[in-house]
Amino acid sequence: MSGAFPTRTALGRQPYWDWRAASNFMLGGSGAGVLVYAAVCGERLLGLLGAALVGGGLLCVWFEIGRPWRALNAYRHGATSWMSREATVAPLLFASALGAAWLDSPGLRWLAAALAIAYVYCQARMLNAGRGIPAWRNPRSVPLLVASGLAEGAGLGVLAGGFWGPMALPVWPMVLLTALLSARVLALWSYRRALPKMVAPGRALRELSRFGRVSGAVDVLAIAVAILATADARIAPLVTASALIAAGSGWALKYSLVIRWSYEQPFAVPVTVARGGEVAPGARPEG
């Protein structure tokens, strides 16, 4: 984010990471998912799309940081920083994805898929380590982001398959998509259940609950559509609809998580002192 931070005496959403950071989570997760899908389906060129998406996400972040010409310093603290680890996995992922496409090597495709899973895991842990933001600190954000990235990637993989070839898919990519969508629905449900322990009652919790309900319902719809499409994968509109929802709903989820739900940890004191020194109950502003 450019410009000065606000005075921050009144707390609200974190003001540091904007759409550029959110794009890294959206594109990076989807790209990783595409790489996994490419390995599972034995697609030669699809991995390149996955790598390009991951690269696009990193480029967005590069435009966000305050000192972009020092970006390589991000490799200096892999001992504890998930951002360093994400940066470390990225070039390995690019090399294996390129190699897999160049040589049409299943081994390299699977290596790229393994690195893609490592990449999306790093991203999930990276968000989770933002401990100043209760919605991120929720440990269940990790499986949620991983499941979402894989589901988005499968959706994009199915769409790309339709774009490059006939939409008459073999059945099992749709089975994979259905399974990943179901995993995301479960992960979102589990994330929402854990929220009240992390997020103070208030705006954040209300917004999260509202979005969670809508997003969960949309995903359940997508699963129903995907099951129908699996029964007959030649029904192109159904295939397209479920794949679009898999990607779009995941992006909406991540955009919301990074930007809309990113209310900061409120200040709190366990006791207050009344005039005359009398100790009184504490103060915890609404989150």
Binding site: G66, R67, A74, S81, G132, V269, P270, V273
Partner: protein, 218 residues
């Protein structure tokens, strides 16, 4: 070992923000950046309403989430517990700012001034281009603390080597010193008074203590 901490006596703070102003002058922070400020918390409901003034700054955590997150190693810990930032390593990713549960990290990318488009003489004097585009926060007036090790003076006792906010407090609400020295001013205060640290449940081991009553229970 030494662990420098700050002790805030909530019974004494009157919310005058003198420490806030002293910090701005001592560190030349630009508009919108407050390495130190005093929260004004209103609790209760009419007619039983209470105002509590809570000075906050970087807590110089013993287990700082900002340091764990930082991808460059720009955020570091001194041996005496102070948490600092190497401005020349920082890439300004602001990850530390999202990791800090106390909202104590700032980043500005452009020079700005309190009064219009020209700096005041003080602002011009204090301007440090190394602080543009990178993260910044309270340093516990590190230049002064570093001076203590060369001069033999004692932080928290000798004003020249004590943070500006502590020196400026008109109510004697702020104290600074070595928590690991049982004879230090802060150790005695912590022994004689009930106290808490903010958001201890997050495991950050904050280095700012708040006193709220006499007695030796925490």
């Amino acid at each position: 070992m030494t662990r420098y901490v700050m002790v805030v006596d909530l019974r004494r703070c009157i919310g005058c923000q003198t420490c806030t102003a002293a910090c701005k002058v001592a560190n030349g922070t630009p508009p919108g950046v407050q390495w130190r400020r005093v929260l004004d918390l209103e609790t209760g409901s009419y007619p039983d309403v209470r105002r509590t003034f809570v000075p906050v700054s970087c807590m110089h955590c013993g287990n700082p989430p900002c340091l764990e997150a930082c991808p460059t190693g720009a955020t570091f810990k001194h041996e005496d517990g102070r948490v600092g930032i190497h401005y020349d390593l920082c890439i300004g990713c602001a990850y530390c700012a999202t990791a800090c549960p106390y909202h104590q990290r700032f980043r500005v990318t452009r020079q700005s001034f309190a009064y219009g488009s020209e700096p005041t003489p003080e602002e011009a004097h204090k301007f440090d281009p190394a602080r543009l585009g990178v993260s910044s926060k309270c340093t516990f007036c590190s230049d002064r603390i570093d001076l203590a090790s060369h001069s033999g003076r004692v932080p928290g006792v000798d004003p020249e080597v004590t943070p500006a906010c502590v020196n400026s407090c008109i109510a004697g609400a702020l104290h600074f010193g070595d928590r690991d020295d049982p004879a230090s001013n802060v150790s005695r205060l912590l022994e004689q008074n009930r106290h808490f640290r903010m958001h201890e449940e997050l495991g950050t081991d904050p280095g700012v203590y708040y006193l709220y009553a006499e007695g030796d229970r925490t």
